[in-house]
Amino acid sequence: MAFSPRAWLDERLDLSPVREFVEHKSVPVHRHSYWYYLGGMTLFLFIVQAMTGILLLLYYQPSEANAFESVRFIMTQVRFGWLIRSIHGWCGNLLIALAFAHMFSTFFLKSYRKPRELTWVSGMLLLFLMLGFGFSGYLLPWNTLSYFATMVGTNIAGVVPGLGQFVLRFLRGGDSVTGATLTRFFGFHVAILPAIIGPVLLLHLLLIQKQGMSVPLSVEQEYRAKGTTPPSIRFFPDFLLRELMGWYLALAVLAGLAALVPWELGVKADPFAPAPPGIQPEWYFLFMFQTLKYIPAKIFGFDGEVLGILAFGVAGLLLLLVPFLDRAAAKGLRSKIVKRAGVIIVIYILTMTTVAYVANLAR
């Protein structure tokens, strides 16, 4: 009798429940189905990011004296090091862009409604953690742009009343951005954040598998009126094949970006040099950065910048808690207020980001 790996594994692990799950798992099909693929594409990019990050870790040296030189070594001496670094740089940006898109699609389709509140909360935590990855990773090449962008970013953190100065010093490992900051950010980037994101990601994926894909409220209402449920396709292989198409598409976009705009080495950071004009944080923080520029110095006697940062903090908290605040969605009803708030937030983020870019180009 021929050896069967499947039988061998079954004998030892009893994979029949997994097989049963995969065979019977189905995914609903409707006019908004394509939004489902954003989550999978984000996951794919996260895997790419982790793999390229591990490869970079083999050569990267996290110190003020060696960081820039080690990145130069990766780009000039390591075989395909330039490609790995370029992919890692672009993948981080694309990952955050897709995470935002996935979050907003989930928001507008009201997928956060009962019983998926925890899926939403874990997803939001993942987004915050990814922003943390982006912020901490940006400094690591230790070039002029990354150095001063980190200076600007950590300055904003320092404005928060009460805890601000503590947070500033905690992030920087001192009063200014130095080699101590670099070492600290490296620790966040490769140890602390991965240790946190792992369990949160696992929880997010488990909850999705447990609860299945959410059918948008509008679609659900239509089918409820007809007395039926939306049609579905098998997870394996039908949905997975479509998901694979999304993954390949993400890979193509990633390679396209790396080809069109290769990630450059830049110029080594000089803490004693003046900041170059028009220094900005990464694009995903730009809307906040630009807003703080427009806020008056004093609002009703309070520091305008402090109020702005507090407002962003409150907005983030409200977004995190939206499943518990949108009571209408929990009852299967549509809430115009929440939808309009979401539209306003998206328009605001896009507008302020564009304004920041245009202002910088004009400068």
Partner: protein, 433 residues
Amino acid sequence: MQRAVRGAGLMICILGASLCARAQEPGAAAPKAAEPEPKITCIVCHSNLGGQLAMPTKPFPTDVHAEKGLTCASCHGGDPTSMDPKVAMSPAKGFRGKPTREQVPEFCGRCHSDTAYMHRYSPTVQTDQVRQYYTSRHGELLRQGNPQVATCINCHSVHDIKLVSDPASPVYPTNIPGTCGQCHSNQDYMGAYTDLPGLTQVAYYEKSVHYQALTIQGNLSAPTCVTCHSSHGATPPGVRSVADVCGRCHAQNLQFFQKSAHAAAFADMGVPGCVQCHGNHAILSANEAMLAGPASVCMTCHVEGDAGAQRSEEMAGQIRKLDAAIQQARATLEDADRAGMDVSVATAELTTAHSHLVMSRTAIHSLDTAQVEAEISQGIPVAEQALQEGRDKLAEVQSRRKGVALFSLLVLAIVFSLYLYIRLEDKPKRQSQ
């Protein structure tokens, strides 16, 4: 500082009483820092007197002499262990009090001219400052009875004297222009000295390439006032000695100049060598604009079309050619470097081309176009090779981009194939619906 000295004098007049205690004379053993410090009554009394009498007591603890274990009595004599002013400041106890301005050089020279004594503090320390001082214009005038001229304390201060290597010292390289300028830029102070060229020396020096090197580049070896005029033996260099003064640093320029036709011609005309073209205090960065064009210094003596003018045009053209080639290569290599390409070898090679550029600019002092051309002809191929290497690296960046773009298209083709496959698979379902 003068006020501090006057304060010390006033102190002596008021307290001019007796004191004893042997001052630390040259030849006596240097005090050991580890030994218990003797009771210093000078500071105790003077710090309570207030005004000018107390002034020396405040900065003195950080004075280099105090740090080396010397006390007030080491210079002024007397007995610092006695609380009785009559005893403490008794001439019988060696009390010397405050020196007059004429006495200051010898007062300091008691120790600083004593080689055996000074070697206890530093085996390489200079001990001819006072001798040099009396050869200086300052020293000459002091001997002629002019008490207004600078003595030791005008430059080094008094009672808060620092080592020359201490950035707080008035004679630390970056502070020297300001220290000299205290008098030499002061119209009220210098008005009587009509033989001096003016009060612009420091202002002009601060515009010079030497000052930029000193302050912006932080090069403490860059020339200051004392590099050309000397410090203790300060005197203006004469017409004949200017080239030698500049040549101490610009040795090759001097060699080329001395072999050139200019050396004899300048001597005949009685004009100083280097200063004639480069100026003295406001020495700007030298470049080809000094040779040819509207700012040409050659044309101050030569006329349009003469042999000298033609030669300077020719040399300027050659040097500009190499300079442009180096700049183009450098810009290309920097582009490639920012793009993450290894250009370290080409960048190192380019320094050779730059050396030839520097040498060609030096060789113009020979007035020999062949020597300039020799440098240029060696520098141009190096710069061109570096430029080509930079271009090759940038071309490699482009070929990498094309490779990644091709991969991207390949992946898009896979996406499209998957899409077609899915549609093909779904066709029966769609037909059944």
